[in-house]
């Protein structure tokens, strides 16, 4: 398969050459502090209230925390890049991004591949339904209903396994498609973390049409994904998050992003205390 190898090299070179030319030599996505203060951070691009790309602007709670932490760590030039759920570990392992603030729950499974700073927020899995829906009161009321979630996430499977075995699952590749399908009435509920759902319910075009059920049935600790074993970075991130909580920026960021949706995070758990780095 000599041909294929040559071909690969050609393709790879061409690809690399073009992309570096296009982004002005910013090829090293990971970046180290001191390298001109550049850093690439992975966020969601399509989650209103948390991480949303609006034109060339980025808004949301994840973005605010990311900006605060990056600034605190001495980075002056922050580049945001999209970190879809299925690719977060890959992005970190391959140094495409330095940190990920993308509704990234800390789990033991993921800790095998990456390390976490934080958590900086504690969310819980919940359901989003139409505002006038009265019969879906919680996950156990989902039998026979149509539930949407995102491919590669386990939240829908959890409901099927633990609460309602007769639920029908629809998988799309983005939550925005789920929410659009919910709004058009072709599915009955969307499930994922309450704060994400609240972000959608608060969007102008869905305002008053959708509501979060408000009975979280899991605990999701949003951490800052970093390369496995980078304890130094983890410690720095944790210090920064604690500082952010103490000086009131954390609350301010939350109020200005998810606040307008009327969503109140579980006060017994938030603001959280960062875990020890290992």
């Amino acid at each position: 398969m000599k041909i294929s190898k040559t071909l690969l090299t050609i393709a790879a070179c061409a690809g690399l050459a073009l992309s570096t030319a296009a982004c002005g030599g910013g090829g090293d996505a990971g970046g180290n502090p001191g390298e001109g203060g550049k850093v690439t951070i992975g966020i969601k691009f399509d989650q209103p209230g948390l991480g949303l790309k609006e034109g060339s602007n980025y808004t949301g709670f994840d973005v605010e925390v990311a900006r605060y932490v990056a600034k605190d760590l001495g980075y002056t030039d922050v580049t945001f890049t999209e970190a879809p759920s299925a690719q977060r570990e890959t992005l970190l392992q391959s140094d495409q991004v330095k940190m990920i603030f993308a509704t990234y729950s800390i789990t033991d499974d993921r800790k095998q591949k990456v390390s976490f700073g934080g958590p900086y927020f504690i969310a819980g899995q919940d359901l989003l339904v139409k505002a006038d829906n009265a019969d879906i009161t919680g996950p156990d009321a989902l039998n026979g209903k149509k539930l949407c979630s995102v491919a590669g996430s386990t939240s829908a499977k959890k409901i099927k396994d633990n609460f309602a075995s007769a639920v029908q699952l629809q998988e799309y590749d983005t939550y925005s498609k789920c929410v659009e399908a919910l709004n058009s009435g072709s599915i009955d509920a969307v499930t994922t973390d309450n704060v994400i759902l609240a972000g959608f319910a608060a969007q102008p075009q869905y305002q008053g049409k959708l509501k979060v059920v408000g009975k979280p049935f899991s605990e999701e600790r949003y951490g800052v994904g970093i390369k496995k074993g980078d304890t130094d970075l983890c410690t720095k991130i944790n210090t920064s998050i604690e500082k952010m909580i103490q000086d009131g920026s954390w609350q301010k960021a939350l109020d200005s992003t998810v606040g307008p949706s009327g969503f109140k995070p579980d006060a017994t758990k938030n603001p959280p205390k960062p875990e020890a780095c290992s």
Binding site: I3, S4, A14, D46, G55, E82, Q96, T174, G185, Y206
Partner: protein, 302 residues
């Protein structure tokens, strides 16, 4: 439109009345279907045709931040893929015409294998392959996945076009080349290939349409092409359906333009035809690309 005039007589008064009736019925059916769709889109519960959903397209930001970068990413990947595929395809095509049975067989295997595997799967594979085996990172990775996936498929297609192009040339061309003392390889490069490549130019442009459309699959591996860009736009504006309509319009415009260029080239070449027959621009209609049982061995005339 010579076909049509042959298929039916010039209509008399009765037939004209019948045609008018059919036209009215057909027209009404089409209009009715359109009306149903428009009514469905405008249903009060979930109206897709409100000004709110369409206004965002008329802001400068929609284009500078989403659609134009998306178009650029799509065109970039497609252009890279077509250039690399053309080069590799010509080499593979030469390999399939080689006098060495081993080379013919290897190139044949390569071509048949990569023509059978869906582009989507190849993109998925090359994305991870690029990451783990070649260590490509950053934004180059998804571009690599897309371009590699497209290249492996399309170079195989082009190889077949080349092979059939050379085979359709009159025998005399090759014989003349050999008679003046050129080696078979020289004959291929200096005499046969230039003619075959010219003849397949329209097909190559049409293949660009296929590649452009296939680039859309790149959104699976996170390549920021037009559809991905459009989806991001839609989630910040909440207008998924209108965005799909605009995306389709953009694709249709670009591809229709390319198809016209291909047709123009085809006509030009047919007018100044010498030697070989110009194959149809449309790759699907090209008999050279027809599935062949004996393809693995190739008919290696050279």
């Amino acid at each position: 439109m010579s076909v049509q005039s042959v298929l039916f007589d010039a209509p008399g008064p009765k037939a004209r009345a019948r045609h008018l009736g059919l036209a009215v019925v057909g027209g009404l059916a089409i209009l009715g279907l359109l009306a149903l769709i428009v009514r469905g889109l405008a249903n009060p519960d979930n109206n897709q045709l409100t000004a709110d959903k369409w206004k965002p397209f008329f802001t400068a930001e929609a284009w500078t931040a989403y659609f134009l970068p998306g178009i650029w990413a799509t065109v970039k990947a497609a252009a890279l893929a077509v250039v690399i595929s053309a080069v590799v395809g010509i080499l593979l095509g030469m390999g399939r015409l080689s006098q060495l049975a081993v080379v013919r067989l290897l190139c044949g295997l390569f071509v048949e294998f990569f023509r059978s595997v869906p582009v989507l799967m190849m993109m998925l594979f090359f994305y991870f392959f690029g990451l783990y085996a070649l260590g490509i990172t950053g934004s180059a990775l998804s571009l690599f996945g897309v371009v590699a996936g497209l290249t492996f498929y399309n170079s195989s297609v082009i190889a077949e076009l080349i092979r059939s192009g050379v085979n359709s040339l009159p025998k005399g061309q090759r014989e003349a080349g050999l008679a003046v003392g050129m080696t078979p390889l020289q004959t291929l490069i200096a005499v046969l290939l230039p003619q075959a490549i010219t003849a397949m130019l329209p097909s190559l442009v049409s293949q660009l349409v296929v590649i452009l459309k296939d680039t859309a699959l790149g959104y699976i591996i996170n390549y920021p092409e037009l559809i991905r860009a459009g989806q991001n736009f839609a989630s910040s504006e909440g207008n998924l359906i209108p965005t799909f309509i605009v995306l389709a319009a953009i694709f249709i415009t670009i591809n229709y333009g390319l198809t016209r260029v291909a047709r123009l080239l085809e006509r030009r070449l047919q007018q100044s035809k010498r030697g070989g027959k110009t194959p149809p621009a449309d790759p699907m209609l090209n008999p050279a690309l027809a599935p062949q049982a004996g393809a693995l061995v190739g008919d290696g005339r050279l």
